[in-house]
Amino acid sequence: MSSALSNLFWILIFPGFLFTVVLGLAASWIVRKVSALVQWRVGPPFAQPLYDIMKLMGKEILLPQEAQRHVFIAAPLVGLAGVLLLSTMLWRITIAETAFVGDIIVAIYLMVLPSLALILGSSASASPHAAIGTSREMKLVLGYELPLVLAFVVVIIKTAGHVEPGQQLSLAAISEHATVLSVSGMLAFLASLLCVQAKLGFVPFDIAESETEVASGVIIEYSGALLAVWKLMHAMMLVALPLFLVMVFLGGFGTAGWPLVAGIGKYVLVLVLIILIKNTNPRMRIDQAMRFFWFYCGIALAVAVILATIGNYYGISWL
């Protein structure tokens, strides 16, 4: 019984819903503030993301007449639950350094859930704009999954010599090793950073909800509390996805003392990199994005896989 209660505490309070939401709203404030500074604006006050959510909660929910309402309403909830599970899992593993819920493959698959929820929700909204958004979002997922898988392979190869045979997939074991400190690890990290950029739907990969092209595409028909749930989900992704990168590539997040400070530093570093990419690039077209991920990132990572294999074989750890 106590384990059920403690699981409930983890998912709802810490490090689950409450913690991730607060952190996520803070992170989305950082995104907006830094973007503003880059563009020579003042930027919003700290609580602005929270105000936005509160405001949306007070607005009425509009349901399109032709929509498949069950899917339309359920989609944001499933997306939220998926990110919540991912975030809780990653934090629990960081804090307790034991297995919780799943391994690195599970994490990669859970990261698909928000995109999938977005796709189903937009597809259910019966709008032609949303249908275009659906198609774009799905193709974007297709695009970045290939480099993400290859980066995962690099990580497995690089950590192979450092963990026990049975622990190869364990996130706790992988996060003890900073894969980024090698040529192949660096390539894999950079490519994964771009994948995370695409997962977050930030420029240059904001193709699915590009406001100026398809009027917010995937979320065009969402309003009120349903839109608030999407915003919350996005804020939580701002916590979970960079944390995943920190754990897999940058040697993990400490829990006390200097490692904790270093962990926060790593997280902020990833976040700032994402923000800078967001603010210094134009939006790609969907076919450009797919070609970018499949061919350029794919080839770079294939090279990384080969380098890592060679490095492993001859015992050259910097390759």
Binding site: I11, Q68, A74, L80, Y109, L116, A124, P165, A225
Partner: protein
């Protein structure tokens, strides 16, 4: 009596099915109900056989001097477990067919062939004698031919193609069986145990493997499957290519790899791994751009085989267990998907994705079951497809870590193909779900209704099993998969972590949190139904429909892939089409020789005589 129990599930459906096959179709019997009853009886018996543990049955059919032909039946944990599921599919499809085949002309033939399939597959799964296994195998092939022809126009072409391809592979099977017999001197499967160290056993292995992968539908011998998918009734596709053919093909492959041969050649497992990885990616890439619902599903039926073969090729416990579990899972969700497609085609009159849409409101049960099965095949946690794929990935990674040799060294390639194939699968199922159930309802489908419960019950059962096997996968592994493979319960097979029940509970809590947010908001403001925002334009419903058929044109028009896609469309990579072209060339050549001119024939006669003389003289 206890041992006769093995005999009944084989002989009862075979006898009744054979009888039904030759009854005139004008004789309106309740053949559907009869089939349902018999399939149910065999299902119950199969459960008893499964519970029975080890049992054997032998019946001397023929004895000529020292050549002894015996019908040897025996239960193995693997065979008995697959038997239960094969018979289960038989029951569900019989139930589904009661409604879906109600208006068909050749019902007696249809149900007869269904029973022959059931009996034949029971025979394959229980037989311990290679020759009888081959006979039962042929019965299943022949009944597939009959079943496909009960489809609409052009189904004869599809049936012929399937029969030609599977028949050719069956010939290879026969040759392989003969070689195995010649090498080991016995037909009894459990006694063979050939080592693959010299050429002959390797050739025999390849021949038997060809039979197995053709039946299961792996590259490059898969092309019968999409063609029949387009023309055969959906219930036939759900019964044979989606479920039973897979079960039998992979069962044979496991039999070959584990019982008949002792695999010692690394090259053979590389061959298997290449077939597996290529099947996953190539078939799913083709599936993505299809417009016909059933054809699209058929290509997925091909693609999923790749995971099973790859899992077996890893030769690690977790990989083989994953491959076997994937076999089971795939049979379940693919069967469900074909049944859903059949329901939709039956109610709307089309399987063309371009003409469907918005059916989620009209056919809610079909939609829900199809969505579950689609998410499952795409490997979305916590459904069953995820678990078995995850196990196959572990197998590949473990192989890379523990083994040496070319197959193990190339593990990044296999892993990338498998994991990326999963994303591609998701993409094509998003297309299906969007174009069929979501998007907008075309005006001519306004009066579509849900199918009756004869058809929804099988779909719901299969979807529920998808969820249960996913959430409680430990039970399935401990009770079914590990015993079937001879791995002790509680053995440390898995290297990864996936606490599925906890994860499911947490997802449910997460959804509840979201619902709470919506509930709080609903106190503040009411919801309102509004027309879809279309930038203020006045457009008709039809003009606003964006079907999913164009989704992946971006992929098929990409430089480098475009040529491959157009080549595939023209059948360049279809061994059947290429074989047909070669045959055509051969007949043209023969026709050219048979010109009807006497001097020509005389020349041939003289040339022939000369050759005969030369040979005879040479020998003397």
């Amino acid at each position: 009596m206890e041992t006769n129990i093995l005999c009944i599930p084989v002989l009862l459906p075979l006898v009744v099915g054979f009888g039904l096959l030759f009854l005139p179709n004008k004789l309106k019997l309740r053949s559907g109900a009869l089939t349902l009853i018999i399939s149910f009886v065999t299902f119950v018996l199969s459960i008893r056989i499964f519970a029975l543990g080890r049992a054997e049955y032998s019946w001397a059919v023929l004895q000529i001097s020292d050549f002894n032909l015996e019908l040897l039946l025996r239960t193995t944990p693997l065979g008995a477990f697959i038997l239960v599921f094969a018979m289960g599919f038989g029951v569900l499809i019989s139930l589904y067919s009661l409604e879906s085949m109600a208006g068909a002309r050749r019902t007696n033939e249809y149900y007869g062939a269904v029973l022959l399939t059931i009996g034949g597959s029971a025979g394959i799964l229980l037989s311990n004698h290679l020759l009888f296994l081959l006979i039962f195998w042929e019965i299943v092939t022949a009944s597939l031919y009959v079943l496909i022809t009960t489809g609409g126009r052009n189904s004869n072409f599809a049936a012929t193609k399937s029969f030609a391809m599977i028949g050719a592979s069956d010939a290879a099977f026969l040759l392989g069986v003969m070689m195995a017999w010649g090498l080991s001197g016995t037909f009894v499967i459990t006694d063979i145990g050939l080592a693959t160290t010299s050429t002959l056993p390797v050739v025999a292995f390849l021949l038997l493997m060809m039979a197995a992968i053709t039946k299961a539908g792996a590259l490059p011998l898969h092309t019968w499957l999409p063609t029949s998918g387009e023309h055969a009734p959906a219930s036939v596709m759900a019964l044979l290519p989606a479920a039973i053919d897979k079960l039998l093909g992979i069962y044979l492959l496991l039999l070959i790899v584990r019982d008949i041969f002792v695999l010692q050649s690394a090259a053979l497992s590389t061959v298997l791994a290449i077939i597996g990885a290529a099947t996953i990616v190539v078939a799913v890439m083709i599936a993505m751009v299809q417009h016909n619902l059933k054809k699209l599903l058929s290509f997925h039926a091909v693609s999923q085989v790749g995971y099973m073969i790859l899992g077996i090729a890893t030769m690690t416990p977790v990989g083989i267990a994953g491959g076997l579990f994937h076999l089971l899972n795939n049979a379940i969700y693919k069967c469900c998907l074909f049944l859903c497609s059949g329901a939709v085609e039956q109610q709307t009159g089309t399987a063309d994705l371009e003409r469907l849409g918005g059916l989620g409101k009209k056919m809610p049960i079909t939609f829900a079951t199809c969505l579950i099965a689609a998410l499952s095949i795409s490997g979305i946690p916590p459904l069953n497809g995820f678990v078995s794929k995850w196990m196959v990935y572990q197998g590949v990674i473990q192989m890379g870590a523990a083994q040496t040799g070319s197959t193990a060294a190339l593990w990044p390639v296999w892993l990338t193909c498998a994991m990326f194939g999963s994303a591609l699968t998701l993409a094509s199922f998003v297309k299906i779900i969007h174009s069929m159930f979501l998007s907008r309802l075309p005006s001519d489908l306004k009066d579509v209704k849900e199918v009756s419960s004869f058809q929804t019950v099988p779909m719901m059962v299969l979807a529920a099993v998808c969820v249960l096997l996913g959430v409680f996968y430990h039970v399935a592994l401990d009770r079914l998969i590990y015993p079937a493979l001879g791995v002790g319960a509680g053995a440390d097979v898995l290297t990864g972590t996936w606490q599925s029940t906890l994860a499911t509970a947490l997802i449910v809590i997460g959804v509840a949190v979201g619902l709470l947010i919506l509930l709080i908001a609903s106190f503040a403001k009411k919801t309102r139904i509004v027309p879809t925002w279309n930038c203020g334009e006045q457009m008709s419903n039809e003009q606003m429909i964006v079907p999913g058929t164009h989704f992946y044109k971006t992929v098929s028009n990409m430089g480098g892939l475009r040529q491959l896609y157009s080549g595939q469309e023209k059948g360049y990579f279809d061994l059947y089409d290429q074989g047909g072209r070669f045959g055509l060339f051969l007949t043209r050549f023969l026709r050219w020789m048979h010109s009807g001119l006497l001097p020509m024939y005389l020349t041939w006669v003289v040339v022939g005589l000369l050759i005969v003389l030369f040979v005879v003289c040479g020998i003397w």
